[in-house]
Symmetry: C2
Subunit: 509 residues, 2 copies
Amino acid sequence: MNVVTTVDPRDGRIRSTNLAETDESRLAAIATAASRAAQWLAGLGRLGRARMLDAIAESLEFRRVDLVAAAAAETGLSHARLDQELTRAAVQFRMFGDVLRDGGYLEAAIDHAADTPLGRGPDLRRMLVPLGPVAVFGASNFPFAFSVAGGDTASALAAGSPVIVKAHPSHPLTSHTSGEAIASAIRAAGGPDGVIALVYGEAAGLWLVRHPAVRAAALTGSVGAARAIQAAIDERPDPIPLYAELSSVNPIVIMPAAAADRADQIADGLFASFTGSGGQLCTKPGLAFVPSDPGGDRLVDGLRARVGSAGGSVLLNERIRDAFEIRAAAFERAGARVSARPRVQPCAGFTVPPTLLEVGLPELTGEITDECFGPLMVVVRYREAAELDAALATVPPSLTGSIHSGSTDDVVVVRRLVDALSARSGRIVFDGYPTGVRVSWAQHHGGPWPSTNSLHTSVGATSIRRFLRPLAWQDAPEWILPEELRDEFTAIPRRVDGRLEPGVEISRP
Amino acid sequence: MNVVTTVDPRDGRIRSTNLAETDESRLAAIATAASRAAQWLAGLGRLGRARMLDAIAESLEFRRVDLVAAAAAETGLSHARLDQELTRAAVQFRMFGDVLRDGGYLEAAIDHAADTPLGRGPDLRRMLVPLGPVAVFGASNFPFAFSVAGGDTASALAAGSPVIVKAHPSHPLTSHTSGEAIASAIRAAGGPDGVIALVYGEAAGLWLVRHPAVRAAALTGSVGAARAIQAAIDERPDPIPLYAELSSVNPIVIMPAAAADRADQIADGLFASFTGSGGQLCTKPGLAFVPSDPGGDRLVDGLRARVGSAGGSVLLNERIRDAFEIRAAAFERAGARVSARPRVQPCAGFTVPPTLLEVGLPELTGEITDECFGPLMVVVRYREAAELDAALATVPPSLTGSIHSGSTDDVVVVRRLVDALSARSGRIVFDGYPTGVRVSWAQHHGGPWPSTNSLHTSVGATSIRRFLRPLAWQDAPEWILPEELRDEFTAIPRRVDGRLEPGVEISRP
């Protein structure tokens, strides 16, 4: 059995842990337990699962001090950021409790028997049911909110699907403690082993998605990881969906009037957005289009000053640090000039300097529009905002696209640029920054490939849809129907004979 | 240019047509036109598209005589069945008009800016937007309702996604005339070329799904066809979803009390269900579990009598006829006994005898649980209904599972069998037959692989979801928002700050 090690990115020190990489027979036992647990979880019902999710949120917050300390030592992220992220993880579990109590996520529909142009139509009732056990791949950059205790886990458990998490190798101890916190809340709710489980090691991740009991996989990670997982899925006789959020450049357009009006304020916001958390956010703005005019010059000067006096960023692991350096060098070789890059003290950890690069719009090549994970942003200077929609069409699809405009900017051009951004992203941000993803009903964290698999979000209430499938009952006797599909049940939103009935609101306990 | 030919399955005669197989440069022009048409279609708006869909329904009905005659000569299906199917196609277009007018399909949500446990949350608004041009592969067995004028086309156009149909080679003239009927209604609505287009030939289908402009593909067909299309999609740098409905055995369980009470009535229903349309329906019951008792004997005797005196069925094409004969022979080699099979006159067309096979539950092997497309059903005789859930777990997942029970059947066993069927199908039918799929809001025509890609339906109102993606607007100025996301707009269902508002009903014109 291979022992799992953990590395402190602040000093590069490697320590061994009490955890072992999961072997194939252990994995099979875990998958079988998940299959059995699926029945318990479905039987718990919406309201039972809502209470379980609330208890998980409490259990995570109860272990806040230990979890934040473990994550700080494994990720190099600040305590403040990790403290906030743990709150976010708890908020996500509670939000899905609300989603369950609301019940609209079931998409319940009833068509009573009726005469139709095609003859007598039978009684039909449809709602969404759990898909079955889900494989979740933890992300490096969010040890809580996109990992064991993250939104994929919360939404899958809410759906009624057991979760097997492949722990990210950058934070095994944080993963283990998170898993314990979740499991203890599930045990307290009477749940069996198998509602949540963790596996360790790259091989275990691939066995996992090939196992017949696993019905879907969710990943926040790299394109390379996604391809390896997809190749393993392709070996199955029955395909399963892979919900993957992979890579995103997040272009941001500063229109001339915005630069003229708010150069300093935007420099502040952009600097914070591209360097926060070491630039290791999927929504980090990687490309900023800034006008070649006095307002744009002031904005870039402001950015330069802030970057020049910044300290180094500790990156999450050695691989990410190496990739950052390789990618930054490639951008420079492709013609991007260094606009600002402070000297940072050499150290044993994985520290890099925040880096501002600059390029003229005509020099913007495909190489420079790739994602560079870490504290790097490329400023693209342009002469005519009206030329930008053509440029935006060459930027890879992203999770987000942002635009800052002022009152004297041409609204026709703004509209065109918004259309160009909309065609290639999942969220359009106006006069703001893409980082800081609100966890709510209307959120969409997705976008055309490779930012995600396009059709679903991985953040927000509707992410639960990924782990559900429709089931219809035709002419079913009342006693066999789920209560949500019985005639007299009115507590949740339902579409009855084509008409939406909003349901009686249930207030939170 | 290869000329497209058409075959009359009633006599096997081959005729050439004025149609040509689509070459790669023509295909590229079609895909480019579809991209351009996407903007027009989106700009038409919900209500404009609803009117367009109504006009398409009218246009199809206006050409009813020609379309039914063309389809009869190309499919061998009866005029009565084809007449009904054309009505269904028109009903589908009109249903999606209603879906658009209702607007709930947009999943519109507004979260106003608010203080949250994670700080100030921005204003977020989300709804679904068109995915872009869709490739539709017409099916052999429904020349209208799952082909050029079928539900995939109707739901994609409703979503705002242009459609390129790869015409099924079994009915090119029907496809062409259907395409003309649809295109003329779109032209009358002011639409450009490219909102709908047809391509012919196997190579064109594969070029189509590899073309960068195409954003999704929908197929009702064989597992082999799906694998070829998926392999072509896998060559793309950006994966696109393939919505595939492929193969389904549709087990039906007759409980002892049902057989005792209604042997004759069930024999009638089963016979009609497995032989109607030559058994060439994806929901044809292929496996019927019948008790080994006097009620079951009466039921099987009734089936035998009906099958024995039936005439031959004309199948859709030579390939399907050959596959039917090969599969029926394989079932017999695997131990299924011929229970009834009339002699049919040898003829030049693709005629086969309806075939009833019989096997004991212990002899039911994997070979016999494959789908046999055509008028064949295997009766599986069982002693104990309580043993059936284990058997049902070995039947491949299906679009449907059916159960007939009587008042003295053990409800615990019925519940267990319904659970077993639910785990492996998309629709559970009680005391009825799976054929005859109601087109409505609560329909689900899907199920675990290989019956479909599981998460979505290809029939009914919610099938529109396949061709939409979410888009979120953060802190957007009112003038840039789609009207459905503006504060004062209340005509459609929306989730505002987490609370569902049902919207003002708009009556049909």
